[in-house]
Structure formats: structure tokens, C-alpha cells
């Protein structure tokens, strides 16, 4: 697993209302949207509201409940996705602590009746916020 690379360094941006950061898959192979079960975005310890979170990959933007049935778009191992949400952050010269959790289903590892393995990975990096 590759949790240390989830947050792409120096990709935090804000438009004053929404913050976004590029994220990388902590796994060795591509997974479809349906296996991306959720994420958490926190800036300086403040979480973005869950219903404000959006996931952008392959040029399309999804709410997490829209990813549930998405087997057409895949998160490829060398691609960045973008995680965004409503959380305040100043685009100043200050360093901000960014925390991202991602929860993934691993669709080929069956661990029980009608159940496959899920993994929850976390990364924390510090960076400045750029204006968008």
C-alpha cells in the first residue's frame, strides 16, 4: 500500500469558499468509482462538510453517492483525482496542515458472504494554499 502518496504535495487551492487538493490512489491497481467509498478532507483540523465533498476524475465530477454505481470511470494508479469541499482556508503565505482519508473497496478480495475487503488509508501533508 502507498498511503504516503495520497496527498499530492503543494496542490492545495481555494476560491475562498471551497478548498481542493489532488489525491493519488494508495493501491497498486486501478479501481472504478464504485470502489471509492468515501473520503475526508480536513484543513488545519477543520473537516469539510460531508455533503459538500466532490470527487473529480477523468474530467468528471461526482458526489460520493453518485460513485456508488460508477463502474465506467476508473482511478488509474498514475492519475491524480481531485477532492474538494467547503472548508475555509486563506491563500496566504502560511503553511496549512492537510489531512485526507480515503476508503476503498478492493473488489477481488472476498472476505465473507457478500463482502469484500475495504481499506481506509490516511495521509497528512503541510503546504501553502494557492488562490484559484
Amino acid at each position: 500500500m502507498i498511503p504516503d502518496r495520497i496527498i499530492e504535495p503543494n496542490t492545495l487551492t481555494t476560491d475562498g469558499r471551497r478548498a481542493e487538493v489532488e489525491v493519488r490512489i494508495p493501491w497498486y491497481r486501478a479501481l472504478p468509482g464504485s470502489c471509492i467509498a468515501g473520503a475526508v478532507l480536513r484543513i488545519d483540523g477543520v473537516p469539510a462538510a460531508e455533503d459538500s465533498l466532490r470527487w473529480t476524475m477523468n474530467g468528471r465530477t461526482f458526489r460520493f453517492d453518485e460513485l456508488v454505481d460508477e463502474t465506467g470511470e476508473w482511478w488509474f494508479p498514475t492519475d491524480s483525482a481531485v477532492l474538494s469541499g467547503e472548508v475555509p482556508v486563506e491563500a496566504d503565505d502560511a503553511e496549512h496542515q492537510v489531512d485526507v482519508d480515503v476508503k476503498l473497496y478492493i473488489p477481488y478480495i472476498v472476505i465473507g458472504e457478500n463482502e469484500v475487503l475495504h481499506i481506509e488509508e490516511h495521509d497528512r501533508k503541510t503546504m501553502k494554499a494557492g488562490q484559484r
Partner: protein, 367 residues
């Protein structure tokens, strides 16, 4: 002599270079050229969903580009690792028809890309393998189901597959032997990684003792015993003030370091079509300290194995302080030395590898 000694084909899976690919240090073409230039081949194994964007859909133009590249650099495609993504829908598992179709598309991709083997996994049942046999035959792709820790050759699920293979009688059904099922020690490089995460020497010694105890007992008889062992690692971490390491100890201690003995592979030896030369590191003496590489090579040579061995370096999960490239070269040197010690050799010439692999895959079990 009852039979000729085997001459396994040297090779590598690109999985070994996961961190370098994921870090965008090498793209697929760059990695393939590196494998050829550094002599990790001639055998080349690729994981479809790791390396090919849009897999399993492969268009003609991409397939042509890939095959031309492999030919140009003098490699030989051995196995395409495919996945049975039974849980791809969040709310339900695939139906049997959907699963067979999902696998069919990947078998077609393997054929199109020039891989004679598709590595499949334990989630496929004997019934699924029987259903897939004619599809494999139609496309000329051998299905080699991976025997990986926490399973092992004499595990009831593997024996059930073997028995079904025997009934079906298709030369297109077989196994991939993964050396992770027959590990002889807890990998020192992983202990070093825990040390770097602040684990005490006392705790690490206890982890080693716990694993060694399981090694003495042999592999777990069933999933319940596997679960108990997993729980023992979690308990050990908690009792020693590092509950944060417990799941990691359990996953690696039971899922990567399988404690079966080398000769357990004899249960399925005639059906072994491909090998994952799973390993975790190379020590100062140039040896693999926790995988009995020399004994495994001797077993394969003695039993006339002429398929490929993909060096599969798994230490990349935790070893961020050493380059995988030197470590893999070191493990392949051990393989070659072991084959010579067993009175044979590893095949490193591409043309010879192609001919031997072709003959190996056409030889039906007990034909």
C-alpha cells in the same frame, strides 16, 4: 534418470516496480525498456489493471504498439495478471454469468496483448474454472490460479481445484505457484521498517517468536485458525503498547509470510504453469533471508519445471530506503546460482525462452 531436469525461465513482474511506476519515475514503456536493458527478463509479467489504462478494453493500435515494443527490446510476455472483481458493484456480488463475462474480457485482452497465461485468483471456484476452460482454450490462454498465502498447495480449496482440473482434463487449467505460501522467516526488512516506526527490539523479538511458532505448527488448517493467528498478532501489539501496529503485523504475518514447507508444492506440481518468485529482500550475504529461494528452485528443477519465474518483489510496501532495482537483480542472481547448484540453469535468452515456454504450456498434465 526418470525425467529431465527443468530449466526455468528468468523473468520479472512489473508489480515489483510498483512504487517507481506509481511515482511516475517510469511510464509503462520506460519500465519495459528498463527491464530489458538491466537484464531482468526475458520473461515479462504485467498486471492488467495496474499498467494498461482502460483495461480490459485493449484497442488494436495499443496492442500492436505493446507487442512491437516487447519484440523490439527482446522480452517474452509470460503472464497477464487479471482480477476477478466479484465485488465491483457496491451492493451485490457479480452473478456467475457476469463473472464469467468479466473474466472472458480479460482473457481476450491477454490473447490480444500476446500473453500465453492469465494469472487468476482464489476467488474463482472449481465451477468457475470449469466454465472458463473452453474460453481459455478458444483464445489459447492458460489460466493459472495463484496459490498465495494464506492458502498453500495442500489447502482444501486448492486440492478441490486440482481435483476438478483432473476431472476436466483441459491443458488450459493450472496454477501459479507463489513463493509467499512457503516462507521460512519473518522478513528482516519489514522488522527494520517497524524499527523505523519506533517499535522496540523487545516487541520485534516477540513478533519473530510468534511467527516462528506458527511456522513450527505449519500453515493454518482453516480460516478459523487463520483468524486466530491474525488475532494473536493484534493482541501482541496491543499488549506491548503498540496497538497501531497490530493490523499491520497480522496482515503481513499471515497474508504475506505463509508457513508451509517447500515440499507442500508437490501436491500440485504437475499443474504448475507459472511461478511468482515472491521475495522481500536481499541481505548482506546476497541471500534472501526469509524465502528459501534455493530450495524452491531446486524443487522446480528436480521436477522438470520449464515455465517462467516472475521475480515478485513485495518489500516495496515498506522498504522506502532502498531501490527495488538492485534488490531484484540480487534475487535473480540467487535463482541462477541455485539452478546451477541443482545441475541445471535458468533460461535468460529470449528465443530459447519462447520455445521452452511454448512447449511447457502445450504439455497437458498426464497427457
Amino acid at each position: 534418470m526418470n525425467h529431465a531436469l527443468g530449466t526455468p525461465i528468468q523473468g520479472v513482474t512489473l508489480y515489483s516496480f510498483t512504487r517507481a511506476f506509481h511515482a511516475r519515475e517510469y511510464d509503462l514503456e520506460g519500465l519495459i525498456r528498463k527491464v530489458a536493458a538491466e537484464g531482468y527478463g526475458p520473461g515479462l509479467e504485467v498486471i492488467g489493471f495496474s499498467s494498461f489504462r482502460g483495461f480490459p478494453e485493449i484497442d488494436d493500435r495499443f496492442a500492436g504498439w505493446f507487442r512491437d515494443l516487447v519484440d523490439e527490446v527482446g522480452l517474452v510476455t509470460t503472464s497477464l495478471a487479471v482480477n476477478a472483481d466479484i465485488g465491483i458493484h457496491r451492493d451485490r456480488l457479480l452473478t456467475q454469468d457476469e463473472l464469467i463475462d468479466y473474466m472472458r474480457r480479460q482473457i481476450v485482452a491477454a490473447a490480444k496483448l500476446g500473453f500465453p497465461i492469465a494469472r487468476v485468483q482464489i476467488s474463482l471456484t472449481p465451477d468457475s474454472m470449469e466454465q472458463l476452460a473452453p474460453i481459455a482454450e478458444e483464445h489459447g490462454v492458460t489460466l493459472a490460479l495463484e496459490v498465495h498465502a494464506d492458502q498453500y498447495a495442500s489447502h482444501p480449496r486448492i486440492l478441490a481445484l486440482r481435483d476438478r482440473y483432473e476431472q476436466v482434463g483441459s491443458p488450459f487449467l493450472g496454477f501459479t505457484m507463489d513463493w509467499g505460501a512457503t516462507v521460512s522467516g519473518f522478513a528482516p526488512s519489514l522488522l527494520e521498517a517497524y524499527r523505523r516506526r519506533g517499535a522496540s527490539e523487545e516487541l520485534l523479538a516477540k513478533v519473530v517468536d510468534l511467527w516462528n511458532g506458527f511456522y513450527e505448527q505449519g500453515p493454518p488448517a482453516d480460516q478459523a485458525e487463520h483468524g486466530q493467528r491474525f488475532g494473536a498478532f493484534i493482541g501482541l501489539a496491543a499488549q506491548n503498547g503498540r496497538p497501531d501496529l497490530g493490523i499491520d503485523f497480522g496482515i503481513n504475518g499471515t497474508g504475506l509470510f505463509g508457513p508451509a514447507r517447500v515440499d507442500d508444492w508437490l501436491e500440485i506440481m504437475p499443474w504448475i504453469r507459472h511461478v511468482h518468485g515472491k521475495f522481500f529482500g536481499i541481505d548482506e550475504q546476497g541471500e534472501e533471508p526469509s524465502v528459501p529461494v534455493r530450495d524452491l528452485i531446486a524443487l522446480l528443477v528436480d521436477n522438470g519445471y520449464n515455465g517462467a519465474i516472475s521475480s515478485e518483489y513485495e518489500g516495496w510496501h515498506w522498504n522506502h530506503w532502498q531501490s527495488p532495482f538492485d534488490i531484484i537483480a540480487g534475487e535473480q542472481a540467487v535463482q541462477r546460482s541455485a539452478a546451477e547448484a541443482a545441475g541445471s540453469r535458468m533460461i535468460t535468452d529470449a528465443a530459447e525462452a519462447r520455445a521452452i515456454l511454448d512447449a511447457h504450456l502445450r504439455k497437458a498434465v498426464r497427457a
